[in-house]
């Protein structure tokens, strides 16, 4: 009867193994890994961009609207500025605004959404009404109007404006989610244990909203980035010497770069935006699969049978790997 120790030992040993698996799972999804890599690239570029740019992005030269060359990798503008340097230096503003606005909007939507979802009474009702009012008002025009109210727009103010106006959708989603969570037994159980309300909201409810919060955050970042760029593009925010991809597009469009045939001026910034968006959505995949056990396919959706066929794993038709009798039942 010395065997029970065997039973005991195995799970104990399994604990660190499990923890490791959990942390690596995120990377295990190839989509998320690619997204993470791309995102890291953009963030690094945001930090070091202005230092590694070959030229001062605003500096004029005599090379007017020149096609890409060794000296100017992405050609030049009508003022002889280096497009590549503008792109590289502009990354910072884009990332800053995107992340900052994302954080602001996420925090606001958490505050409003979760609170109005968990609490009841007039306060909660008016919070929910508030978010509905914000939903009704179209965000982009509102942002355009507010930014045109501001005498001067820096990255931070743009981020603030975007963040302060784009939280409502998230709040609504979170509220709906919270409503379904708040009568869950474990929340009631925490209450019955004697937890304080704010602790219940922060420690019992919010962790269960991680998936929603995360995808919401990423969605807001994408929205913020496109908004910032759109604002710059329509000339609402091209302030200072602060370059961002939208400013590049603004100038390119103002000078009708495409009609002039200066594709190098217009195309790269747009592609950069698309890539950033893709990086974020790929990250989103990873987070989905990470947080929601249902989406977790262990990365595999196809299996190989013993006789070499590939079968898709799917609900309703369990794949059969091997047939018939095996000689050795062990």
């Amino acid at each position: 009867m010395a065997t029970p120790s065997v039973v005991d030992a195995t799970p104990v040993a399994a604990v660190p193994v499990k923890a490791k698996r959990r942390r690596l799972r995120f990377i295990a999804s190839p989509k998320a890994a690619i997204g993470l890599g791309m995102m890291a690239f953009f963030v690094i570029l945001a930090i070091i961009g202005p230092f590694i740019a070959p030229y001062d992005p605003s500096e004029r030269s005599n090379a007017l609207v020149e096609a890409p060359s060794a000296a100017h990798w992405l050609g030049t503008t009508h003022l002889g500025q280096d497009v590549f340097s503008q792109l590289v230096s502009g990354t910072r503003s884009v990332i800053l605004v995107g992340l900052l606005a994302g954080v602001i909007a996420t925090i606001l939507s958490l505050l409003v959404g979760v609170t109005s979802g968990y609490l009841s009474g007039a306060g909660a009702e008016s919070l929910s009404a508030l978010s509905n009012v914000f939903l009704v008002i179209p965000a982009l025009p509102l942002i355009i109007i507010i930014t045109s109210i501001l005498p001067e727009t820096t990255d931070v103010t743009i981020a603030l404006v975007i963040g302060l106006t784009s939280w409502a959708w998230g709040a609504r989603v979170l509220r709906a989610q919270t409503l379904s969570l708040r009568r869950r037994d474990y929340v009631e159980a925490a209450r019955a244990t004697g937890e304080k309300t704010w602790r219940i909201i922060i420690f019992e409810i919010m962790p269960n909203l991680t998936a929603v919060i995360a995808s919401n955050f990423i969605g807001t970042v994408i929205f913020a980035v496109t908004s910032e760029i759109t604002l710059a593009f329509i000339g609402v925010n091209t302030s200072g010497d602060n370059w961002n991809w939208g400013t590049i597009l603004f100038w390119a469009q103002g000078q009708q770069a495409l009609a002039q045939g200066a594709w190098w001026w217009f195309v790269p910034a747009g592609l950069a935006i698309a890539l950033l968006g893709t990086a974020l959505s790929l990250l989103n995949f990873g987070i989905d699969e990470f947080v929601s056990p249902r989406l977790r396919g262990n990365g595999k959706s196809k299996v190989k049978t013993v006789d070499g066929h590939t079968v898709r794993m799917r609900v309703g038709f369990t794949p059969v790997l091997g047939f018939g009798r095996k000689d050795d039942t062990l």
Binding site: D8, P11, V12, V15, K18, R184, D185, Y186, V187, E188, A189, A190, R191, A192, T193, G194, E195, K196, T197, F203, E204, P207, N208, T210
Partner: protein, 372 residues
């Protein structure tokens, strides 16, 4: 049997911890279609006029059909729901707390184990978190880390999750149903309560694990002098585990008394139905033939409950009176505190003190009628 008899006699003397008096809970239901403009608001009468007492060192079982309001009673007692009417007394003092400090003070003394162990543990937190919180909230975590560690270990050991370090850092989904249930119990015990409201703590477990949990509760009751409310569908376990059994039907208490008496000599026709329906491997032959004669039919709607006795549409002994008048509790003299809310015992009321024949015979009549 003797043991339970001894306890029963002790019950008169042991201290009442928690007492419900005329507890009532109505859930509002949303109006449908054309009712929108009418004034009448509809409610689910989940619990109606329920009175019970929980005493120190005693287990009270609450059985009844599904949807009869057992869980609602437990949640009302835990002050998780606002009650519609009635009173809850803790040590004789009426309490009504919704949240805040007073609620926490109350929750320290009255703890609840939720029906579903899969739902009542937060999937994102480890066992350690759950238990630590329970200890910290009620200032039982001690001052240092070691104190806390020791307290956690003690808790886990108490619910037989040994060795503690094997379970302490696990997430709920890494535990089996029985283990979760025991974590939930440990959490409730973390507050060191005086009363424990255990809502079907074993319903999802296989018999061997079920037994382990029940033995643990009994042990706790005896060692810590807890007052326990044990809600279950498993009447057999009520017989084994509880000192006192109360039967609910459609939001009302229909019978109550000493467990052995209630399970062996059920008085109320519903209880009889319940006991008869319980599967019994020893009596395979005896059944099978008589299924048809059993009172069948649907459980009543709680929105428009039947007038009079709520069981009357299904009752094999239904009388005119049952259809109109709500039966009060009638004492039945065959066991300590045995009562039933049934007009069958109305006549016995006058004579109940003098002899047990009235109820006894009616009991016999009911049973023989069934098995004939």
């Amino acid at each position: 049997m003797t043991a339970s008899g001894m306890k029963a006699s002790a019950s008169e003397t042991t201290e009442v911890v928690l007492e419900a008096d005329g507890l009532t809970k109505h859930f509002p239901v949303r109006k449908r279609g054309r009712e929108v403009f009418s004034k009448v608001s509809r409610v689910v009468r989940a619990v109606d006029d329920v009175s019970l007492t929980l005493r120190r060192g005693r287990v009270t079982a609450l059985v009844g059909e599904s949807g009869s309001g057992k869980s609602t009673v437990a949640r009302l007692l835990a002050q998780l729901y606002d009650r519609t009417a009635g009173d809850i007394k803790l040590h004789g003092e009426s309490v009504s707390v919704k949240s805040g400090k007073r609620f926490r003070a109350y929750s320290r003394r009255v703890q609840m184990i939720f029906q579903d162990p899969f739902a009542s543990l937060n999937p994102v937190h480890t066992v350690r978190y759950h238990l630590t919180r329970a200890l910290k909230i009620h200032d039982r975590a001690g001052k240092t880390k070691e104190d806390l560690e020791k307290a956690l270990e003690a808790l886990l050991t108490r619910v037989q999750l040994t060795p503690p370090e094997r379970y302490i850092d696990k997430f709920p989904h890494e535990l089996s149903g029985g283990q979760r249930q025991r974590v939930a119990i440990a959490r409730a015990l973390g507050a060191d309560p005086e009363a424990l409201l255990a809502d079907e703590p074993v319903s999802m477990l296989d018999v061997s694990i079920r037994l382990g949990v029940l033995n643990l509760l009994r042990d706790l009751k005896e060692r810590l002098n807890l007052a326990i409310l044990y809600i279950t569908h498993d009447i057999a376990s009520a017989r084994y585990f509880a000192d006192e059994t109360i039967v609910m039907y459609a939001g009302r208490i229909v019978e109550g008394g000493d467990s052995e008496t209630v399970t062996q000599r059920p008085a109320h026709p519903y209880t009889q139905l319940l006991i008869d329906s319980a599967p019994d491997p020893d009596q395979i032959a005896a059944h099978s033939a008589s299924e048809k004669d059993r009172g069948t039919g649907e459980p009543p709607s709680l929105i428009n409950p039947p007038a009079g006795c709520r069981f009357h549409p299904r009752c094999p002994h239904v009388m005119d009176r049952c259809r109109t008048e709500l039966p009060p509790r009638f004492e039945i003299g065959d066991g300590p505190g045995h009562f039933a809310a049934c007009w069958l015992y109305a006549d016995g009321q006058a004579t109940s003190e003098s002899s047990g024949t009235g109820p006894g015979s009616s009991d016999g009549r009911a049973r023989s009628g069934e098995h004939a």
